[in-house]
């Protein structure tokens, strides 16, 4: 059964489609009349967030790829000193955009709400990802900014902040793992064909690679340390593939969205 909801008044009597002509007229039409404008706003927020997130961590703050866990205190203090500008600027921007993660999570929860499954999946995902932003993002930023902006502190304290930052960032992947599994189960039992089943299995692959980050609590060197080939590099490759895939999947979901409750319709095929 498919019930098509009547969109709010803005879309009640829209023109047949976006006007042809200058781009600003088309943008204005979409902003005023497109019934999917909120979904597109959320999707673009997701894209903007990740396009800022990675450059801030890798280029501006230069805290990823992560440094050696086994460095001595003097090297750790020097590492903070080298980033006395990059970390405050990069993480200042991260703090400013961190709220966008709420919109990202909401869009993913929306995808589960559109499925034939219980809404509990979406709520559980929202809850667990709201919590995971604390150890998986904010604690690292706070600890590294403190270490950078309080260079006069005892080197032992700076060393503690160094360990705390990277262990909280890499060692708490369990919460992300559970989030991936929730999404996976929802996709696999969904009957509305919101996502293809292989994407559900890709969620499982992503969750399984997040398991292997946990040993970074034990190892200070080797492949399972927080900067190891398996615990970080391989995990990052899998996460990158997963991330690009889910951004594309959400894009396709919004294109197919009909605001009904039954199976999502396929996109019309292009004439060749």
């Amino acid at each position: 059964m498919s019930t098509v909801l009547t969109p709010p008044e803005s879309a009640a009597t829209p023109p047949a489609g976006p006007p042809s002509g200058r781009w600003h007229r088309r943008v204005a039409w979409h902003l005023r009349h497109n019934p999917k404008r909120e979904l597109w706003l959320a999707w673009w927020t997701l894209v903007v967030f990740y396009n800022l997130f990675f450059p801030m961590f890798f280029v501006v703050a230069q805290v990823q790829p992560p440094p050696q866990p086994s460095w001595d205190l003097a090297t750790q203090v020097h590492w903070f000193h080298e980033r006395h500008l990059g970390i405050p600027i990069g993480f200042g921007i991260i703090f400013a955009i961190a709220g966008m993660t709420a919109v990202n999570n909401a869009l993913i929860a929306y995808s589960m709400r559109r499925m034939s499954t219980s809404r509990a999946f979406g709520y559980a995902y929202l809850l667990i990802y709201s919590l995971s932003a604390i150890p998986g993002l904010l604690l690292l930023c706070i600890a590294l900014i403190v270490g950078t902006l309080r260079p006069e502190r005892d080197p032992k304290v700076i060393g503690w902040l160094y360990d705390f930052a990277f262990l909280s960032f890499d060692g708490t992947m369990g919460v992300f793992l559970i989030g991936s599994l929730i999404w996976m189960v929802a996709i696999l039992i969904d009957k509305n064909r919101v996502f293809p089943k292989w994407f559900g299995y890709l969620n499982l692959c992503n969750a399984l690679t997040e398991v292997v980050v946990a040993p970074c609590w034990i190892f200070q060197r080797g492949v399972l340390a927080w900067n190891g080939q398996i615990a970080w590099w391989l995990d990052m490759v899998v996460f990158g593939v997963y991330q690009v895939t889910f951004v594309v999947m959400l894009f396709q979901m919004i294109r197919r969205e009909d605001f009904g409750t039954g199976p999502l319709p396929d996109l019309p095929r292009k004439n060749t």
Binding site: P196, K197, Y201, L202, C205, L208, I218, L224, I230
Partner: protein, 192 residues
């Protein structure tokens, strides 16, 4: 249906959901990377790896492999029985598979305990790290396998459900776990 159409259909047929094969491919790629790192580290310190491999009991490895191969055989029988509509036999085969998996897990835990008692912990040396990591991540796959077998039992028990596609999808997962173990066994126990 014409013969040509029949042939095409057979040629395109894959057991279970085709989507599961994406998982098989992706996991194979990830494990290939794990094995690549293992071989790289092994080439850097061959003596250490040879010495540590000697601590492993090859008989336990062979026993584990045979048990898992038996489990793969029984899950394949389950698929055949299910296709033939013999659901009681199919259920019996799933239980045999689960029993084999339980034997494997118990044997693996005993082997870990023995190694730890001998002083070979996860961080003793590079080989131990790899040994516990590879067998550990495979162990996690096998635990998920129990959920998968549970889905097969759930499907087979009720005439209203009985999705042959799901049974085959779950069997594909199980064969993947088995296939990965054969590679892990070869690398850790046999290749010296």
């Amino acid at each position: 249906m014409t013969d040509v159409a029949e042939t095409n259909k057979r040629a395109r047929f894959v057991p279970g959901q085709p989507d599961m094969w994406a998982f098989v491919l992706f996991e194979t790629l990830v494990f290939t990377a794990y094995f690549g790192f293992y071989l790289f580290y092994r080439a850097r310190s061959p003596e250490l790896f040879l010495h540590s491999q000697a601590q492993l009991d090859l008989r336990v490895g062979v026993f584990n492999t045979l048990v898992l191969l038996l489990s793969s055989w029984s899950v394949a029988r389950c698929v055949q029985s299910s296709r033939a509509g013999a659901y009681r036999a199919a259920l019996r085969d799933v239980y045999i598979t689960a029993a084999c998996a339980a034997v494997f897990l118990s044997s693996k835990m005993f082997e870990w305990a023995r190694l730890v008692r001998l002083g070979d912990g996860v961080d003793s040396n590079d080989f131990s790290t790899y040994y516990f990591f590879l067998t550990g991540i495979h162990f996690v796959h096998l635990l998920i396998g129990f959920v998968v077998l549970g889905i097969v039992v759930y499907q087979l028990r009720s005439p209203e459900r009985r999705s042959q596609e799901l049974v085959e999808t779950c069997a594909t997962y199980w064969h993947t776990v088995d296939f990965l173990w054969v590679l892990i066994f070869a690398l850790l126990y046999v290749v010296r």
